[in-house]
Symmetry: C2
Subunit: 353 residues, 2 copies
Amino acid sequence: MKRKITLKQIAKELDVSISTVSKALRNSIEISEDTRQKIQAFAKLYNYRPNNIALSLKNRKTKTIGIIIPEIVHHFFSKVITGIELVANKRGYNVIVGLSNESFDKEVINMQMLANGSIDGFILSIAKETLLQQDYHHFTETINQGMPIVMFDRVVNEIPCDKVIVDDVKGAKQAVEKLISNGCKNIAIISTKDYVSVGKLRTQGYLEALEDHKIDPKASLILKIEDKLMSDDHLDKLESEVEQLFQSNKSIDGIFAVNELYAVTAIKVARKLGLKIPDDLQVISFSDGVLSKHSTPSLTTVSQHGQKIGEKAANLLINRLEAEEVDYNDETEEVYETVIIETNLIERESTKN
Amino acid sequence: MKRKITLKQIAKELDVSISTVSKALRNSIEISEDTRQKIQAFAKLYNYRPNNIALSLKNRKTKTIGIIIPEIVHHFFSKVITGIELVANKRGYNVIVGLSNESFDKEVINMQMLANGSIDGFILSIAKETLLQQDYHHFTETINQGMPIVMFDRVVNEIPCDKVIVDDVKGAKQAVEKLISNGCKNIAIISTKDYVSVGKLRTQGYLEALEDHKIDPKASLILKIEDKLMSDDHLDKLESEVEQLFQSNKSIDGIFAVNELYAVTAIKVARKLGLKIPDDLQVISFSDGVLSKHSTPSLTTVSQHGQKIGEKAANLLINRLEAEEVDYNDETEEVYETVIIETNLIERESTKN
DNA sequence: TTAACTTGCGCAAACGTTTTCGTGTTGAAA
DNA sequence: TTTCAACACGAAAACGTTTGCGCAAGTTAA
């Protein structure tokens, strides 16, 4: 119906030039009090707002941040988005979301769609398939085109950009140490295959904790799940693998799971086998989400502070964007930051206290 | 560093005009085979992509959809986004997300930020505060400015736009009927205050089911929670209110909860009071999310098909956007659609079968 | 009276595209 | 030789802003 009103229309209506209107609205002293008021009144009446696209084109920046994440139906990622959106909005930016669905191709396509002027910079977490293929050309390309990237959680070292991560090793280690100090003698870990970096790191933390306490790790206590997208099919497989773990290691009294789902599955299986939580078996999970808090028993977890990660990532990106404006002239070697967000252990019912 | 290459730069480099470059890249027959190939090769070499912002400005459309939702850390809403993003991408659109955080002001601000040319249309679900204040001027204003809106889930009738909803009454009714046919005699409902439209409608479905089966509703079996944003504080209050419900109605043998959280809380409290699920108490929840599937016992739920809702909403919006291009001339009365997505009952362990 | 300011406003360029409408150069038909 | 179509390309406008600069009219100072 009625299109949004433009400077040109106001100018025509009031019989002045476009520049006069623009200046009047921006309170330029070049314009007389009289005309300024007249124009402002008219603009207010018609609810004039400058067209963002035109501004973006002129200023060569969009005030928009592109987010690419593997999936959004995931407590951690939505928390991160919440954090990003929070500071982005506060600092005058919008947020545009692309989902890679853990697929390399969709990640590439999405980045290309957004990189063509729609956004000023990326915040992203790498798709599993990309990690598996180790093909990172789309990241380097965007960076070479002058578009900054901030990676979070699933990062890869060879890409020169800011990163926000949790200390997966440390978090895992603390969790396992908690189990040890709570008296667990046979602690199993349910992790992912090693190409998922966080799975690998958390496994490393598990091993370090054991080593520090002079406990010999046993291969049979380490379960690495092939972590494809969660179908119901996959869920059954998970359950049977976990059951297998319990069956062949009757003396397990502690479980460290790298995510909530593995933890609740472990609990479910353990119960079926007659184990009492936390008396016979104590469980700690990485990733503090809705399952941890509300399932029974509630889970002791390593909280990653997803929102804080998002906030930090957004601040890093925006800082860089707004710094660029200043030292345009720089051939100075860029220096990138890797921020580590501290995890902390939230004790609930799945462990003794 | 290196800015993205533009038509102008290519033109200068190859010593032709901008228009020639543009035409060559779009395979215009006006350009000779020779130059066309030369230009295309050069463009490919420098990885040229047309600047989206410039295109948006020229075409007066952005190929971007704005989404405003109350919160993103919420299974249902993320599912909806997944659906929107799926069809949006398939049809060549991007998706930009604003969070209202259930606040009226943030909803208004966010819409204004996006309405200034950044997007072609909105898909949104109304914030609780907005519903409470019943101030919908920002919706009518955007619509009057020619920007279509599609509302989903939390909608309000007086706004002329397409809507996608689930049949809350019917879904609730089916759930309660399931409880009745499973032998429940005293069915309580845990709902929200009436200003949350879905809470009201689901309560209505509950009442209708009772009525159809000649069961007199009892006021003491209807618990309406003040559903502010979930703080831990609020959680305690919820728990004590639910406990109160059980204490004053010892004979409750069925619970219909309007969301997962209420359902798991009810189960938690019931267990504390020594009730066995589903033998002593059967529970059905609206909203099929991660809690339902993975908590123990898993919940029988009314699934809303959030992703389908999102897909439908996106299709409605894009259809309208692309229809507008054609009948530009129309003063024909716009006719809006309200699509109802069927719910269905997913039976799990919290009910007998 | 003249020179020099000040005031208030408009012109035009620029951001990167696409597209319409020329326009100059061929080559062929008349 | 003239005429005209075909061909290959360029100029310019448009989308909606912002802003440096120019310019006319009015004002002040000399």
